[in-house]
Amino acid sequence: MKRLLFICVVALISAVLFGCTAARNSADPNANNSEDSTGSTEENNSEEGATITYWYWADNSEYSQLMQDIIKEFNETNDKGITVVGEEYPWDGGGYSETLFTAAIGGGGPDVASFKLTSTPLFTANDLLLNLDDYIANWDKKDDIDSNIYDIMKQASGTDSIYLMPWNTQVLYVYYRPSIFEEAGVEVPTTYEELLTAIEKTTMDTNGDGKTDVYGFGMRGATGGQEPWGSFIHARGGSFDDLTSEASIQGMKDFIDIYSNGYAPPTASTDGFNEIIANFKSGRTAMTIHHTGSSAEMVDTFGDDVSAFPFPAGEGQWTSMGDTENVIFESSQHKDAAFEWVAYLAAEKGQEDWTVATGNVPVSKSVQELDFFQDNEFMKASIEGMPFAGIVPIKDTTTEWISTIWPNTVAAALLGDKSAEEAMKILQEELHAE
């Protein structure tokens, strides 16, 4: 009896105490922000020996190791005694950004984090990111990064300020299999019309059983598919700004036709990155659209029998520029140290190490000059695509548009549940909703 009573009382008291402290402290999370995260008061003055946390995701275990190595090297070589602590978070199909947001708005975010352009409006609207204008203006390597990249960073925030430190980019291009092209008797397309013909011609029944064995185009209908899809819309002269224009609708019709004529695998309506790459690597598709991030494994699989060309021009020409940036949080106690670190990744040794190993396109001009990037055929296709590369308009609706609206609406159109016009109307309204 006594023991039980004792246990209950202890449990009760501890729970009450715990509950009360929590309730009191949580009443005003913002007010606590400045006082308790490190407990010291002189952080901003002495950046010597600062420790900063850095959140990033890794696309595979090699990248994870690579990032740890870069961090280690930075910690050993920087002359300000800065220590970066890397924390890896799962990419989780984009869930990374929500995790980061939840932590930041809850007051427990990192000092620095890797970041995607599309999340910018959400974070800046909640005043979470540090304005980098002054830091960049005083940065000796400022001019090593092309000014159009800074412009894209400004566009994303919808202001004249830069909140994102450029890190690396990926430009989409078309992968193709020379052997299949030869078998089908097609040349590398130089116009949009030729591309459509090539897609049709490379769809083949190679063993004569009446079923398609090779599909011309590995179409991506799941999340992320808006990037290659955008190229079709622009090739007809359409644009993201007016998706209901005749030209945009015609591009959508081309896209649907490829699927309904059987030039893309029947699973295309839900194929994501994994599927398009797997289909290409297994020889099931003749072409697919992706960036240099997958070039190493393509070469591993096919050797010489894989090559690339930029998405060709029709009425218009466009390809999607993927991106990864770094941001510094407004709540960071060591902003100067944090900038040292993002600068290291943007234009110094960190930039070179990362882009050489991952095959991403560097933002630093001096790194772009390296032979490694000049001699690589896939890198060449990326750099050729640079002049007409763009991004989906970054609005506060963009994340939702990309993650649920686009895939579901386009799947409905591919499966014949919606016409091209109906689908484009939805896409237009949702992207440009006020």
């Binding site: 275990s61 890896e88 978070y89």
Partner: protein
């Protein structure tokens, strides 16, 4: 009984059991086969039911480079503590709900239930702020608390159900014999309830072992649990099937071994119950 019923047993036991087991186990088998296949065979033109080329490299990599033992230890720690905390709190509460009549009983019971009806995703932001303000962020304790909040209501209900199905005549008899309530509880009710407590404990353990949404927010590199580590293997550039499936197999097996021993307790509980009954 044994003679005529052998054919009968095949029909009523082995065949249905076989079918259900096949359905339950096949995906696990497929996970295992995937973990020991080289990638090129995964996307090959024909589906192979046993790898043509065996490789255990992914397992070596997980324990070597990846230090998979750390998240396993963290998961084990969190799951064990959650199980103990939850079982203690909810057994007491369930006993109160079934053996006492008191004001507000229905309301309390309903409150417990509504808690589980609320989607976790909406708890994240406030919960994160609370954890930070009590300085529990990135500690295993924060996970234990987060998990206890949704395993407790469940367990209270589950145990209430079991207790209601146990005739209260058992302990009343004991109390007439002079035992007080606590003694009646520990000597009579608890042993009979053991199988149910174990089953509930298994539930709690598995939930905490496999939970991802809270885990990704409330842990950092040193306190990471298994699901987060596994999810790290799915990047923008695709799924690392070999490591992911190998990690999955390593995660599943300890739980099954644990349950193998726990289910023995289930049977012991049964004999205890029948002796008293």
């Amino acid at each position: 009984m044994s003679k005529k019923s052998f054919g009968n047993r095949i029909l009523t036991l082995y065949i249905p059991l076989g079918i259900i087991l096949f359905f339950l186990v096949f995906p696990f088998y497929w996970t295992f086969v995937t973990s020991i296949k080289p990638e090129r065979e995964l996307y090959g033109p024909t589906v192979t039911y046993w790898p043509e080329e065996l490789t255990f490299a992914s397992y070596a990599k997980l324990f070597g480079e990846f230090n998979f033992l750390l998240p396993m230890f963290n998961s084990l720690l969190v799951a064990t503590i959650t199980t103990v905390v939850t079982l203690t709190a909810s057994t007491l509460a369930a006993y109160a709900f079934t053996r006492f009549d008191f004001k507000g009983k229905n309301i309390f019971m309903s409150l417990f239930l509504t808690n589980n009806m609320f989607p976790n995703v909406l708890l994240l932001i406030p919960l994160f702020a609370i954890m930070r303000s009590v300085n529990l962020l990135y500690t295993p304790t924060s996970l234990v608390i987060a998990y206890a909040t949704f395993t407790i209501p469940f367990s209270v209900w589950m145990l209430t159900g079991y207790l209601k199905d146990l005739p209260s005549s058992l302990e009343e008899a004991a109390m007439i014999d002079g035992a007080n309530r606590v003694k009646a509880f520990t000597r009579v009710v608890l042993p009979v309830l053991m199988p149910s407590i174990i089953a509930t404990g298994v539930y709690i353990f598995i939930q905490s072992w496999n939970e991802y949404t809270f885990a990704v927010l409330f842990t950092n590199e040193s306190t990471r649990t298994i699901p987060v580590t596994l999810k790290n293997l799915i990047g923008q550039l695709g799924v690392q099937w070999d490591l992911l499936t190998a990690g999955g197999i390593i995660t599943i097996i300890p739980v099954c071994i644990l349950f193998f021993f726990a289910q023995k307790k289930l049977i012991e509980g049964m004999t205890a119950g029948s002796v008293k009954g």
